[in-house]
Symmetry: D2
Subunit: 365 residues, 4 copies
């Protein structure tokens, strides 16, 4: 129940503040015998590192992960996989001013309201750095899924008004464009838009899409633990996400039943859907089609133009946020959305292992 | 962890199928001493009853709730409140044909994939009737919130292309229009739209909005148990919901930081927000403003026009859905969205009781 | 987390007070496809019914169970199995006096301390009747175990100073002796002892032992979810249990390592233990031997001799408990211990399904 | 649900193997504002360090704890407190032989049965070193309890046949005798007994008792989350514990009701119990008296005399355990029992915060 734990059988517990000694994650419930090494984690983590392009903060963070437990002779043992990333680039001095007031769009005020005081250095636990633990945990989940023939792909679908053109989809571009867009033309236009935002001391939002291929039909649950409900929570729990869509999402609400229903048909002897408006779930349970979801992300709240706010003495003041801030969160959120999706699907895979007596008989003979 | 339980401290467990003997809910973790009687529950349940207008199914279900435990001399005792609703209007014969094929847009195929077989009568556990238990549980949550000065209001915001006009907002109309719209003009237009859908043997979707007033700042959690993340799960766990928005939602992703940030200001000596783009949460924790969320609901999948699908023998077939079906789910979903929101906010209120040592000292002296 | 829910994957939620309208249980997480009918439950429940002999209360309770959901065409569907037992024999008037004072050995005072007031009729939620829901849930668990080749046997090992003689073990006697002892001689002596207790307006305690046969090696977990830790909780959660032992239990603490260690040996090509001091678990995980546990149960707190206590006005008073009370709880607790053990072992069986990647490959191919 | 997490609101997640890089614990759900520094933890940890006397293993482990998160300016922030202890004294070579066979009384065989392979170095996750994380977490719980006026005291009650004399109880001796007995005479006799065990290449067991003073009446829950049930699980989850008693424990089962019932009486205007056979709980809820529990611990399974067992090839063999092993586990388990008790009581304290509406009104005004 604790607020820093996610998942039912495959469970991650993250810890750490932006400017503390370290951040980390404990992954519990990972089945024994999964081949896992440090590179599996580090490559995932590298995708969220800052300092990689001009649209991301110039802070350099090594984000070197250390596996502290749960892996023996190259395989998971079934006991907790603990991973840690030392913080190496903290400049607490940059943040001392923040202690005295509440930044608009940030959690400063709400932390004070909840806890009575807060670690004001770089947002503390509400910093985007908190997601490092999620990504390290997600790397383990993605490895489990990969072993079971399930693959994830996440990318930036839009930044501000600039959207990708699906007909130009280029998967390789996700890892090479600074926007993580799978469309180099759109990415160039998005970069121009962001340059404009930066010139006006402003910031932008956007949309991340994630697709999961190879999910067998039958994962998820009919009521509260619907697969899409858990995906919605997983994705909405990422800071700055303000809306989550599954399949046609908001479009479904303005379509008619005859348009929205996906006809079933037989293809190569298997039950298949002719279309995928549902985004891969029916009644909360995977239907064998691609899982498709979108996260709508608000603009970076730290902007350099002056803003009105109040200080802890209850006075109206005007502030200008300082420090180093990305003009857009979206590209760095891509791998976080992918990680949270991987954790959710892998957990559903494990949960479903006991859905029917036949499964028990397969295991226990 | 079980799929039919929702909540951490205030926890509901629902049970029952559309055509079984009964449906019900066990509410555990409700604080002792809450005044509660059968009417508190029944009035809430009446709002989701079918058969109340021409845009809802003519099935008549009494939906009479019985409180079986947990209330003594008009107050909750702190032990489980068990409530049951007998099913009285089942016509299993109507559904026998469904056993042989998979209805598009329904959970027939996914249930078979997960469990190996299914209770095909009226959708079984995936029926909309499952929400009766949620609503009964939500009534308890709403009563707790009411005692603490927190009120909820939910309504239909749009059906198909027809949206309410916020300038004509009339709260009383929610309970009197057949659409549950707080705008009689929009409601009349929505009814005309639905009549057109029915003429073409088709169905419509729409959007439900829910607003929560009086939530103190500080509820929720900074990481996985973000208040908005739990709301997203709560709402997405309602059948047919395909997208969830908090505050500006999808609009936030196309706005700039200078537009999206809500300035803090002092009003009557209290920290307040000048605007509420955030929808009442910052960093996953309530900020003292109204909580605002929207659920996007797909069109009723049961439509009377012919559809292609497959049967259990793996043959492509064409079907026409029979039986009695609402052309739109949205109006009956309004109270369900309100119930799930109430449960989530009340649970957050209870969870937050131990956020700081000062609270413990207030309780234990 | 709610206090009326037990189990991780196979989860029961019980509800109901001694003198409310009904008691019941919701069993969630039961795999689909288990053959289950009302008799499976009722036969189990009959074993805890009162009124069956002169050493049990003369109250007659029908304890007729009704299955309300989750079973279709004779098999579990994977959705919650809700079961209810109407209370039919309440005499609330008998208990009105109890409202004014605190009975020694009962939960009257602690309920008031926790909740501020209590349902004083027959102990309310703290009544032994609460266990009816556990037993109904345990019947489902026992059926799962039976399908997997695992059998349970529980019996009275001792009442007061009278213990069974293991050399005279007669399994059939468990269901025929009024003491539930598997030894008719010991049972006769125990009855004589109880008659003496009753003559002196006093009561007796005793020990229940439960043995589980056929548990495969590998169930349980190395740290907090040790199989024996969960068994200890399961059994200690039964009212009146004051100690739990596994295997040699308290005897282990006074033995030496050379006596207590069980040698491994090969028998019929399988790893086996030459002895079973451990009681079937090593390091919290089942070792393939019989699981053996004992519950030590205090004497019935309701005794007819005068007792000193205080009333709600804070005055020292002397009381004589009235009503109908068993002179010993032990025989009726036998099936409750068996039920809680079955639930715990079945849950461990389900939890273990995802212990290794090989299991996933067996299920998902 | 994951097996390395304990607690409901105050929740610890431990990780690490005996011979891995480090061990640690994440404490989540600790209320904000608790004064906490490294010494609070280190002093607790020092009590379980080996190498402190001739009856404990000569291994020297620094067990230096590092607090990595969750504490800011000397107070807990409400976010996870992550703590780590580097392993510095591993000699993996010592353990290589163990890989090939199953030690009697250890978890070697059961780990292989569960996970398909194991980290055989020093027992891996089943090592007693696993308890370091519990003790670090328990130190936080004990600090919370101390702030609320609740104190714990745990000690060795007996080793083999040697028990303390309650009339010679000397609290200071617990921290000065090598046995952790509060009775220097008994301790000397226990040392002599252990010396005899060591001469005969054998080992001993014993009993730890823990007393909790100042627990307010009302903590715990009436059904599955009984305070004593959770204590039983907490204590039985410590490796080598084979029985748990509350209050009179096994003695209750052979007493009569008139002896076992504790009379209530008024003392200084407060409801009090004249005796404490119950050990501080009635109906699963604390009654305001001292909580009293005992853990019965088996003899160290690693003994130097030859033992029969089987190897991984399925051959009967004879082995002699090598390495450095304590002849008795009991003294080092004392602080572990205290830690698990502290965690359980503190969690119950937090859980109880929402037991009644009056509490909510105290917090939220």
């Amino acid at each position: 129940m604790a607020g820093s734990t996610y998942g039912n059988i495959l469970q991650i517990t993250t810890w750490g503040e932006s400017h503390g000694a370290a951040l980390g994650v404990v992954v519990d419930g990972c089945p024994a015998g999964l081949a896992l090494d440090r590179d599996d984690i580090q490559l995932y983590l590298n995708r969220r590192k800052p300092g990689q392009s001009r649209i991301s903060t110039p802070r350099k963070e090594a984000d070197e992960v250390e596996i502290l437990s749960g892996v023996f002779e190259g395989r998971t043992t079934g006991t907790p996989v603990s991973m840690m990333i030392r913080n190496t680039s903290q400049h607490s001095a940059d943040y001392s001013e923040i202690a005295s007031y509440y930044r608009p769009g940030h959690a400063d005020y709400t932390f004070d309201a909840k806890y009575g005081f807060r670690d004001y250095r770089g947002g503390g636990r509400s910093s985007g750095r908190e997601t490092a633990g999620r990504v390290a945990g997600g790397a383990v989940a993605a490895k489990i899924l990969h072993e079971m023939g399930i693959e994830l792909i996440a990318y930036t679908k839009s930044i501000g008004p600039v959207s990708i053109d699906p007909s130009k989809f280029d998967k390789d571009a996700i890892l090479t464009t600074p926007t993580c867009m799978p469309d180099t033309d759109a990415s160039a236009r998005a970069e121009a838009y962001l340059a404009d935002c930066m010139r006006s001391c402003d910031s932008a939002g956007g949309v991340v899409e994630c697709i999961v291929r190879g999910v067998p039909a039958g994962l998820g649950d009919p009521v509260f633990e619907k697969l899409d409900a858990n995906l919605a929570k997983a994705v909405m729990s990422i800071g700055a996400v303000k809306a989550v869509e599954i399949g046609d999402g908001v479009g479904a609400a303005v379509s008619r039943g005859s348009e929205n229903n996906d006809a079933f048909c037989m293809i190569d002897g298997a039950v298949t859907k002719a279309t995928n408006h549902s985004g891969g779930t029916l009644g909360g349970i995977s239907d064998g089609s691609d899982i498709i979801l979108r996260a709508h992300i608000k603009p970076t709240p730290s902007i350099y133009s002056p803003q009105k706010t109040v200080n802890k003495q209850g006075e109206d003041i005007e502030i200008s946020v300082k420090g180093r801030h990305d003009p857009v969160i979206v590209p760095r959120a891509v791998v976080v959305v992918e990680a949270m999706t991987a954790l959710t699907i892998a957990d559903a895979l494990l949960m479903n292992a006991t859905a029917k007596m036949d499964n028990l008989k397969k295991i226990y003979g």
